[in-house]
Assembly symmetry: C2
Homo-oligomer: 329 residues x 2
């Protein structure tokens, strides 16, 4: 186990990706995202992704040199063509214009297609909240969840992320995939050679499984059963149907270097709280306090913030095997 | 048991509410909504609500003569003050302007406050989908769900409703409360003198209960546990925090005539699929077909459409007791 500071970890990833057909600007964007996820304790979206990304960039499944293209469709709507590159630079491009658009229009939306794995979906909305907005991001991912009553996956784990500013403190951040657990957890278990708990996933025949390989070949159990499946459908319509991205069933895996680009999508909706009323952010704070006032209750995302603060001062503990794998890129 | 045609049922409700301090225009709006919910098989939001509504209108907990007021806040954002009246006329007012706003801006939002029980949340978004839009409505309701790890309810059951057009057929409609089951189901069980299944609700001390009265005095179990609770928080921020409506914990009950107006809120976000791309609705249709092609799978909302069609031809079977209660208003 080695200990890396966050800048060291970013430099490690940036250097590795630039050796794998990726522009320095894109490599830096990816590195920031992976290191932030690792710092937040979201290991499934952290440094472990780097070797997979590099393998995809080497064969062109992700275009490491892509430059995302922004088109203004309507006063409150932009489209971003991620151009089969990494999702992170495309999302960062959306973030450069959404605050101004939301402030002038009240609400604004960014439709991102030909995109890729967006990692910790809470981070872009968190940054928008730091810019004063309330924001939701709907994300589609390669197929993972079957329709209710069916057996073949047609929805991704389809995360919904939300953030809003809180007075005098870090934003409230909600980030959840609509599978009972994030697929990244199964990836992590696989990499560690561990089994997964029952109830997370079904195998390709629809039977419960604790084997991560069988789970990755099968489907994920949705959170909240039929209701969670309905939400996955909603996200599929928004993040892929509206954006023009590939539906889950047509998207290649984020996890290997086979096939064409995944071409998934993200839809961001940003609201300017100030447009709704001068006291909106104060009200968000009052709601947060009413939760934290209860014994045993806490806001979502608080654990991540603690881990992030710890990582900033103490660095990241990364396995020697993973570092070796990244250095070998 | 009596059989009423839909127009007869609407006339029954309209007449009853106009006897209870409610303008004819508002009474008609409420009647349309309750009869549509009843026709869709959503009995918890159907005719059984009429006596409760009337009792509230009589004492001014809901202002039956309220006229909702629309304010244009930004090009893509309107606020509607439901003026402590029924939610239905306020939402219908939003529907009169959202399609044009979404078409010109790409996305548009309506923020509704000082509102009330909005019944079947799928209906307004379904009508927006019939007008060609994809639409989400976030709804806050009086307190029902405790924060994860806490014991006191600070979130409502907080429905999320979504609809989008499908080519050549009725829109796709998703409508789900974030409690494991809708509170209306518990109301219905109470009115029928039945117990409720385990796992639906906790009593005021946080213990599982099958007694509908204890359940109504306690909290609802969220769908998907911690994730469902996080979604309930997101909806609370959007539908109450942003709109300026009462938070769940400050909202009086929809179910009795005690206290001040509930003052809850609704936030509608409408997208113009045509602004995203000429083939968006075709894509929605392809996704729907890929679901329906699977044995055992069906689209959400299909059962409601069947029941609605049946109700249109065969009428509604309403208990004599409920008709008597409505006629006695």
């Amino acid at each position: 186990m080695a200990n890396l500071t966050l800048p060291q970890a970013e430099a490690l990833i940036t250097a590795a990706l630039t050796r794998a057909n990726t522009s320095e600007s894109n490599a830096r964007s990816v590195a920031r995202a992976l290191v932030m996820a690792e710092a937040d304790g979201l290991k499934g979206h952290g440094l472990s992704r780097a070797p997979m990304y590099a393998a995809q960039a080497k064969v062109g499944k992700v275009d490491g040199n892509a430059v995302p293209v922004l088109t203004r469709l309507k006063p409150a709507l932009i489209a971003i063509d991620a151009a089969s590159g990494f999702a992170y630079p495309a999302i960062e491009l959306a973030e450069t214009v959404l605050p101004e658009m939301a402030r002038s229009q009240g609400v604004a939306s960014a439709s991102i297609h030909r995109s890729h794995h967006c990692g910790a979906a809470g981070h872009p909305v968190e940054r928008l909240a730091e810019a004063g907005l309330a924001a939701i991001m709907f994300v589609n991912t390669p197929s993972a969840i079957a329709p209710w009553g069916g057996s073949k996956a047609v929805f991704g784990t389809n995360p919904i992320a939300f953030a809003c500013p809180l007075p005098g403190r870090a934003p409230l951040v909600i980030d959840l995939s609509l599978s009972k657990v994030a697929r990244g957890n199964i990836m992590t278990a696989k990499q560690r050679g561990e089994t997964i708990p029952e109830g997370w996933a079904l195998d390709a025949a629809g039977r419960p499984t604790i084997d991560p390989d069988a789970a990755l070949a099968g489907t994920m159990v949705p959170m909240g059963d039929a209701k969670g499946t309905a939400l996955a459908l909603m996200v599929e319509v928004l993040a892929a149907g509206l954006t023009g991205a590939n539906f889950a069933a047509d998207a290649s895996s984020f996890l290997d270097a086979k096939g064409p680009p995944p071409g998934t999508g993200q839809l961001i909706v940003a609201f300017d709280p100030a447009a709704f009323g001068s006291d909106a952010v104060t009200r968000f704070g009052a709601l947060a306090q009413s939760i934290e006032a209860q014994a045993g209750a806490r806001l979502p995302g608080v654990r991540r913030l603690k881990l992030r603060a710890k990582a900033k001062t103490e660095g990241l503990a990364i396995s020697d095997a993973l570092i070796k794998e990244i250095e070998a890129i």
